[in-house]
């Protein structure tokens, strides 16, 4: 992005913002300006306080100290309505859309006087269509939000802000849930918005995106503003260092020493799950001491494969062996008993229970093991010790094991899940999008831990949309496309471009599967 003129008008000023949650200072005296036409990337580790700061700016939270000025006017604290009226639009990290209502209804909500009869559907639709054309945001205004993909929902969120003529757009980790293609589309939209005079605050943990889209970076660490720089005058390594406070090095990968096949699929098929394809005649081997990477655009059967190995579904046809046996009555319980540990794709929905505390979440899958319970009675002391051990060993930042997990930042939640998985020394690790939404430090840490598990002799299945991640870690790579699985490619055997061809679904005809 080109730098905006230095004399460009200040549209937003954060003045000495402080917010405390109990003993924790989530934001400590943060001040910075946003200028017209600028894209500021807000960087920081998980739990650094980015979302909290944006929530204060938007009026969801009331700051303990400090205030926000928009176009020179001071905003009343804790009042989203005032922020909206002043031209602030926010796309939340967790979408705020009502699933059972249509796109149009979600967009119009709150923009009309409550006392008005009729909400001017036709007029609203007209405006939405115009906005969609201006900003390149395609979505059906009459679709139920619940039936939309994540990418589409995000477009609805952006449309919501634009419909209210937002002049300042806040995007809280918009790309964490997008496919690379959708990310490109989002960036195109952001460029159009900036060209039309909007200013943007963009939060992301992916530094290459930050390099591509932002004009300035602002870095938070432990709730404090620690650095500000022009994007053109910095680079990825420097940004990572500013965030973490020390240098971040990618983990060193040693040669793998593969052992026996622990999980074997031969000609396995499974039914489709809604619009997502099931598995089609899949052959796969997960070997001890080896990381098997699964590359592919999400929604191509990854869920079916993860659910199958995790015990949520059973194969419709084909043979499926775990440690040499064909399991009867395959279930999550059977999978856990067989030493298969899972890092689920959606940590909020299937990984944790939001209102349970860390202790309870730590033993969710293990509560029936001897040690945690006896004769049907829980041993809470052991559970608490276990949780405390994970918190210490995996650097989960939280007030303590009694904290409800809902209050943790996404990255810290993921670290707890990781600890829960690895502390049991599993023989198979099922890692589905394990670093989604994680900061660079946490990401590196998760990768190190997966490699360490491999070196201890575990079979690891790594499912990720990020080709760089898959190629960096995996000893064998399979590509999944529309439920079909490519043969395994050894580390370094394929270039990213060649893998990309398979991901687009093109290699499969040339290499017919042994049916």
């Amino acid at each position: 992005m080109t730098d905006p003129r230095p004399e460009a008008q200040v549209v937003l000023r954060l003045e000495n913002i402080t917010k405390r949650f109990g003993k924790l200072t989530a934001n400590g005296a943060i001040s910075f300006d946003l200028r017209q036409g600028e894209v500021i990337a807000l960087l920081g580790e998980n739990g650094a306080g980015k979302t909290t700061l944006m929530n204060i700016l938007f009026g969801h939270y009331t700051p303990d100290e400090g205030h926000v000025e928009v176009f020179g006017m001071r905003l009343p604290a804790g009042n989203p309505r005032a922020a909206l009226a002043a031209g602030v639009g926010m796309v939340h990290q967790h979408f705020t859309l009502a699933d059972n209502m249509t796109v149009l209804e979600n967009i119009v909500l709150g923009t009309r006087s409550i006392w008005r009869l009729g909400f001017g559907r036709a007029q609203a639709r007209q405006r939405i269509v115009t906005l969609m054309e201006d900003y390149g945001l395609r979505v059906d205004p009459d679709a139920q939000v619940g039936s939309l993909s994540v990418g589409e929902r995000q477009r609805v969120e952006i449309l919501k802000a634009l419909f209210r003529e937002a002049r300042i757009l806040i995007l809280d980790e918009p790309t964490a849930v997008l496919t690379p293609q959708e990310t490109d589309d989002l960036f195109a939209t952001m460029r159009k918005a900036v060209a039309l005079g909007l200013s943007v605050i963009f939060i992301s943990h992916k530094l290459h995106e930050v390099m591509a889209i932002s004009s300035r970076v602002v870095v938070l660490r432990h709730g404090k503003l620690v650095a500000e720089a022009k994007t053109s005058e910095t680079d990825r390594a420097a940004m990572a260092q500013m965030m973490v406070g020390s240098e971040v090095a990618a983990p060193v990968v040693r040669r793998a020493d593969p052992g026996a096949a622990l999980v074997t699929l031969a000609g396995v098929s499974s039914p489709d799950i809604g619009s997502a394809p099931g598995l089609k005649n899949v052959d796969l081997e997960l070997r001890a001491g080896q990381i098997t990477g699964l590359a592919g655009v999400s929604g191509n059967g990854q869920t079916a494969l993860a659910d199958l190995i995790g015990g949520l579904i059973r194969p419709a046809s084909g043979t499926f062996h775990v440690k040499g046996d064909a399991p009867r009555g395959w279930s999550p319980h059977a999978a856990i008993s067989a030493g298969i540990a899972r890092i689920p794709e959606d940590r909020h929905k299937t990984g944790t229970i939001a209102d349970f505390d860390l202790t309870e979440n730590a033993v969710l899958e293990l509560y029936s093991r001897p040690g945690f319970s006896r004769h049907g009675w829980m041993n809470w002391r052991a559970a608490r010790d276990f949780a405390a051990k994970i918190i210490r060993g995996y650097d989960v930042r939280c007030p303590g094991p009694e904290t409800r997990i809902r209050l943790l930042s996404g990255g810290n939640m993921q670290k707890l899940i990781l600890g829960r998985v690895l502390e049991t020394a599993p023989s198979v690790v099922l890692a589905n999008q394990p670093v989604r939404g994680l900061d660079i430090g946490a990401l590196t840490y998760v990768h190190e831990q997966l490699l360490a598990a491999r070196d201890r002799g575990a079979a690891v299945l790594l499912i990720s949309e990020d080709l760089d991640e898959v190629t960096a870690l995996s000893d064998v790579i399979h590509v999944i496309s529309e439920g079909r699985l490519s043969p395994g490619f050894a580390r370094g055997a394929m270039t990213p471009a060649e893998l990309g061809v398979w991901m687009a679904g093109d290699g499969f005809e040339e290499a017919p599967h042994a049916a």
Partner: protein, 314 residues
């Protein structure tokens, strides 16, 4: 006489619509509360309050419509208590609702004793009279059933249409539904979830009270203990039966009322003589449960029903 004959009688349908009317008011009220995300188990007690308040107003010399207004306002007062306790304070909706029912019922009986210390048999009032709508009431069967009712019954039907329009065609209805689907979305659009929910519970409770007032002012013409007799609980089921849609809920109310009217009549047929009458009393409830099982499979529950919303918490 055969069941089919009964079903073809105009008087049967007239009775069914009359029995359905209080259920329509109260179920509509419950629907408004639940659509905003609040389960209002105070319904049974609020109906008692409405029945008493409306009746007492008329008994003390107030006009009929004034009585309806007083009933509505007293219902709204209890709605306010319910709303404040469950929304900003986030207390359990079950406990508060049942508490309101107990409080409202006992308070009513207390006031009844205060107002009429000496009476043994409840005094009658001059209640709403059927208002025949000419021409329309000449249509066979449905004519008299629909167009020879008291004004309150007409009001019930008008309200169903009005609530449908408000829910689906106005910004207010949109905000109300959104509060029951995803309060965070409402908050993020600059509206106050608390204000919407409290207002919804108040208006809904007002409707429930009018449903109760129907019993004293349009059906029995006097007030006595136990007169609401579980109708509030039926309305909770009717809302589920109607999958939280006003039109379907109305249908459910009429269906239930028809079963009820039918069982009274069948009891008087030769068939009725051989069967213990308790079976007939049970019949509408059993049929309702069966209908509920069939209908509510696909019902769309408001996603945030009974989920408290605390601003500034994640």
């Amino acid at each position: 006489m055969d069941i089919l004959d009964i079903l073809l009688q105009a008087s049967f349908w007239t009775a069914a619509i009359r029995i359905a009317s209080p259920l329509i008011f109260a179920a509509l009220g419950e629907l408004i509360c639940e659509r905003a995300g609040v389960l209002n188990l105070g319904i049974e007690g609020i109906m008692v309050v409405g029945a008493f308040a409306g009746w007492l107003t008329v008994y003390l010399g107030g006009g009929l419509w004034f009585g309806v207004a007083v009933a509505m306002l007293s219902g709204m007062a209890f709605g306010l208590v319910h709303g404040v306790l469950t929304v900003p304070f986030g207390l359990s909706q079950h406990v508060v609702g049942l508490g309101i029912t107990l409080l409202a019922t006992s308070l009513t009986y207390y006031c009844y004793r205060l107002a009429l210390p000496e009476v043994t048999s409840p005094p009658k009032i001059e209640a709403f009279q059927p208002l025949e709508i000419t021409i329309l009431s000449d249509i066979p069967v449905i004519g008299p059933a629909l167009f020879n009712q008291t004004p309150l019954t007409y009001l019930a039907f008008v309200l169903v249409v009005a609530v449908t329009l408000v829910l689906y065609r106005t910004p207010m209805g949109l905000a109300l539904r959104a509060a029951g689907e995803d309060p965070a979305a409402v908050e993020a659009q600059g509206l106050s979830v608390s204000a919407i929910r409290i207002c919804a519970v108040m208006v809904g409770s007002g409707f429930m009270a009018v449903g109760g007032a129907f019993l004293t002012m349009s059906a029995f013409n006097s007030f006595f203990f136990e007169m609401v007799n579980g109708r509030g609980w039926i309305c909770i089921a009717l809302v589920v039966f109607g999958s939280w849609k006003p039109g379907k809920t109305l249908l459910g109310a009429v269906l239930f009322a028809a079963f009820d009217a039918l069982q009274i009549r069948v009891q008087q047929t030769p068939l009725g003589a051989d069967i213990p009458y308790q079976i007939f009393l049970m019949a509408p409830y059993i049929l309702s449960i069966l209908a509920l099982v069939v209908m509510s499979r696909r019902a769309q529950v408001p996603a945030a029903l009974m989920v408290p919303f605390n601003k500034g918490e994640r």
